[in-house]
Symmetry: C2
Subunit: 607 residues, 2 copies
């Protein structure tokens, strides 16, 4: 097997069949990415692609066999990830229909909802919306304002938008196609619950009491019809409540397996993490396309010659390599972390602790992968100069479409705070709350800790820069130090200064979360390489991993220097090694790009 | 005078009248930015705005009084900068017509060209192109491939595209409106010269031998009709040569005031720096609009509450301040550097050395200002969440329109190399080429130098972090150290390893260039504050300047730590000071934004 084939096999991994099928689909006529359409034409084109995709059985993967699905959650995410090689509007519209709308019915509903709706959801005969976000509440959805009130006499729920801030906003499928919506609303004093609410009749007209608006033109993703919904005392039957985590009896009695309203809501949200995981995967695919285009261009484009010599390929310039190759290395690293995340989700976490970890990991990988996509696609556009600005060359559309990835399915800053919060909770579970005696011990521990740290730091200063165990230790040590410090700062918070203390520590918390994800991503990369049977491929991947580690260290070398983890001369050596690794990987870029297996139809440019 | 008025007066500076007139123009009906148009509609709208702008006399500022202009180069750039508050397509189309096309005729042509064409250029009756870039040569325009051959018998030049790579590309005004082009071509063995070539007849049809293509849809700036030109032995009269720097007599004799073909070409390019300066100014305006939108949103948007409390304004969160306020401080800093640059250009450099410095400065400020625009507008989009992704809220269009600023008028990486090259030339002029004795002295000097540096570094480590003299010293010292190091590395280059040595030092050279610009920008900021008579405004600007300095130091603290300019504890103190300054400036953001004087029509959003 060629090294490219070995790498491809490794990258495709457990869901290679689902990925192959999705790639074949993208090669079919009518699925080419396009950027020449007005909003309505683009929406119509994507609608048509959705029908074809539904007919191909794509949507079955994510649903249970009881309703005709294939019980393959991992496959559905892997397949979705491939869709992101093509027109990202299709990927998002598919995500809304089958991941969010269908996924919510599957996860939050019970058998009666599954049987009644999921077949039509899969076939796209029932286009639907996931109506959670409101104009006034995007990140803090626990406090959204739409209300659901039970009317005992009619055995109906009344769904209502009490004020303009309660307007459902940015809702995919709402402006044009949606017939039904999963609407999240405050169910009296039981917290947020989800309800199935018809929003359009068979003719496409809004249902009585439902006002539908259009978000209009967006930066990108204009094939998706994002819209707005307002409800004026809309009545739905008692059975419209997706009642897996909370139910209302005909007489109005509320029951739930989870007592706390807040815990109940976060449990519901936890069942919906597929969305976040899918966005992280899609961000990875879009990044791969951009890198394939920009690296390919760098291998053909010549500019400037030494006197009398041939003009140089721009990818032979160090500064050009430094733009593209560390980003390629990080893309590989994130790929392995993503595969591991999908597998953990597919197999299901072992216990509640596992579920919490999965949620934190999904949040963190989503934040890091989408930030990487935003930065890398931007840089690829610039690395292609004027050619990168022409729509015919795909990069503008990739940039515009992915720009909202850092926002939807959770704003990245908020997600990283979630990660940090999770880390602190584990930390507290481990060390416990502190009473006076505990505080004394904690201080004493810190002294011991400092001694241990200083010793560890000395060891870190001596290891070989190419030693993987050292890399792991370096990332682990940074995470631990940041987390210790953050925990110590937050302990200072009392009743009166809680906001001030939290606010002043916010950047510290985010750094801890990023360090945690960096460490986790590196571990996943190492595990991925260990699973590769081809020695030549392993040797290449080791270099890619070196570049991932050292370019990450380089970009955060301020921290490593501040904390005595790198000496000044060692920090300079890191930069030199990054430069050297760029040169060493330069001859292998084609192999590394080809291994992604991006369909040719998705790489068509005029450059 | 209110503090806002004082600041506005200071920012508007010497060309406040031109700025006021341009702002009034943007408030007129028909000039509102729009993002709902298809390519052809948008082009038509901008064409109409161009006519109105020409009728208003806007274009007169940049031309000489001999042809009806106002002899006010500085005013023309200031006025152009204001256009960037509105639809950026209009700004670019105006820049192509009056800055590039008209500017080339003014700067490279002689009286006969001025009299014959400039009145119609100003009135937009003669829409024209600046046809320099080719498909095969964008950065290295000295080696473009279009040819101009003199035919003695006919007393004509023959303009020809010898191969597809010689195609003129990305040419503004070419696809739809241009009637004439300033075409840059290799004039036999005399290097690149500019020729006036009619490309369309009165009916709008291409002239015989001229092929015109359309670059089609772009990421943004779709109101500008970028196109492509190919010439098949197109004949123009001898007088079509813009002959200020080189002329051909009827008998074919070539004469020029500048002997070297290369120096001649760079002299010609040097007369065209207005384009770069204008783009830097436009980048500043676009950045200001994005910050005004995102900061305004952050002051209204609430999300998350402490238990029982009101929801917090997102701009009260430290992480949100850290996204927006250092960017605002840098925007202020760059504003003053831009004003200084415009004044230097307007007054004209004193000598050739001054001209060289002006060119380097224009290149450097353009690179830094456009990178700042790209990063800041991206961040502002994200800071507005989903609302920032809707076209109705301007940020998507600002992002898409400005994305090419880092590329056009010179790719930023290439421009920073130009800056570095200029610095090294001055360095060599200062220290001379080295013979053996010189080398010995150089080595000895370095030893002395190291001792001085170590002493200086110790001083740097003791100064107060809020001391402006210390800031200046810190920036100056970094620049000097980087430049010394780069010069030392490049000395190792011999005949055989020149490319390798240069290539390996490329990132070092770029760092030196960036440090140089940072230092220059800081000096301009300090000079700007010194010119402000309002004490209260000065006090506020001093804080803004502190934030500019310390956030710049923070982001490059890896370097300062590596080179012993910051101790670890001092580096952490820098971060704390940045956080504290964000909090101190928070109450003043409205004043700082209002002082920009952005017309209300340009800030209209639905958020």
């Amino acid at each position: 097997m060629s090294i490219t084939a070995s790498l491809r096999q490794l990258l495709d991994g457990r869901w290679s069949a689902a990925k192959a099928a999705a790639r074949d689909g993208l090669e079919k006529a009518g699925f080419e990415p396009t950027d020449q359409l007005g909003t309505e034409e683009h929406r119509a084109r994507i609608h048509e692609q959705m029908r074809l995709l539904a007919d191909s059985g794509h949507a079955r993967l994510g649903f249970s066999s009881a309703v005709g699905g294939a019980d393959d959650l991992g496959g559905s995410v892997a397949s979705f990830e491939m869709l992101a090689y093509g027109d990202l509007s299709l990927m998002v519209k598919a995500g809304v229909q089958w991941g969010l709308f269908g996924g919510a019915i599957q996860a939050l509903g019970t058998e009666r909802h599954h049987m009644a709706y999921l077949p039509a959801v899969m076939s796209f005969q029932l286009p639907g919306c996931f109506a959670m976000t409101e104009t006034g509440h995007g990140s803090d959805v626990q406090h959204l304002r739409t209300t659901a009130t039970y009317d005992v006499s009619a055995e109906e729920f009344v769904i209502h938008s009490p004020d303009p801030a309660a307007r459902k906003d940015y809702i995919g499928n709402a402006a044009r196609d949606g017939r039904m919506a999963v609407v999240f609303a405050q169910l009296e004093d039981h917290g947020v619950h989800a309800f199935l609410v018809p929003i359009r009749d068979e003719s496409g007209a809004p249902m009585p009491g439902v006002w539908i608006g259009d978000c209009g033109r967006k930066a990108g993703l204009n094939g998706v019809d994002n819209g707005r919904l307002l409800f004026d005392r809309v009545r739905v039957p008692r059975s419209a409540l997706l009642n897996r985590y909370g139910d209302v009896a005909p007489d109005g009695t509320y029951t739930s397996p989870i007592e706390s309203a807040s815990r109940r809501f976060f449990t519901m949200l936890g069942t919906l993490i597929r969305g976040r995981i899918s966005v992280a995967g899609a961000a990875g695919s879009a990044t791969k396309v951009a890198l394939a285009i920009a690296i390919g261009y760098g291998e053909r484009r010549r500019q400037f010659a030494a006197p009398g010599g041939e003009e140089n390929l721009i990818l032979d310039y160090l500064v050009h390599q430094r733009k593209l190759l560390p980003a390629l290395a990080r893309t590989y690293a994130l790929h392995f972390a993503q595969e591991q995340l999908v597998a953990t989700m597919h197999d299901g976490p072992a216990d509640e602790q596992g579920q919490r970890e999965l949620e934190a990991r999904a949040a963190g990988i989503k934040a890091v992968a989408t930030q990487h996509a935003t930065e890398t696609i931007q840089m690829c556009r610039q690395a292609c100069g004027g050619a990168g600005y022409l729509s015919a060359n795909r990069l503008p559309q990739l940039k515009a479409d992915t720009d909202v990835f850092t926002t939807f399915e959770g704003d990245n800053t908020v997600l990283l705070q979630l990660v940090a919060k999770g880390l602190l909770t584990s930390y507290r579970d481990h060390f416990g709350e502190l009473d006076v005696l505990g505080t004394v011990r904690f201080v004493a521990d810190q002294v011991v800790e400092s001694v241990i740290e200083a010793t560890a730091a000395r060891t870190l200063l001596q290891a070989d820069l190419g030693d993987r165990a050292y890399h792991l230790k370096l990332f682990e040590d940074r995470e631990k130090h940041l987390l210790d410090g953050a925990a110590r700062r937050l302990r200072r918070a009392g009743k009166d200064n809680a906001f001030e203390v939290f606010n002043a520590s916010q950047d510290h918390l985010l750094a801890a979360a990023r360090a945690h994800i960096d460490r986790h991503v590196l571990e996943a990369f190492v595990a991925g390489i260990a699973a590769c049977p081809d020695e030549e491929a392993v040797a290449l991947l080791e270099k890619v991993c070196d570049l991932y580690v050292l370019s990450t260290v380089e970009s955060d070398r301020g921290w490593f220097l501040e904390h005595g983890r790198l000496s000044p001369s060692r920090a300079k050596e890191v930069t030199q090694r990054v430069n050297a690794l760029c040169g060493e990987l330069r001859p292998h870029v084609d192999v590394l790009i080809d291994a992604f297996g991006i369909p040719d139809a998705c790489l068509s440019t005029e450059m």
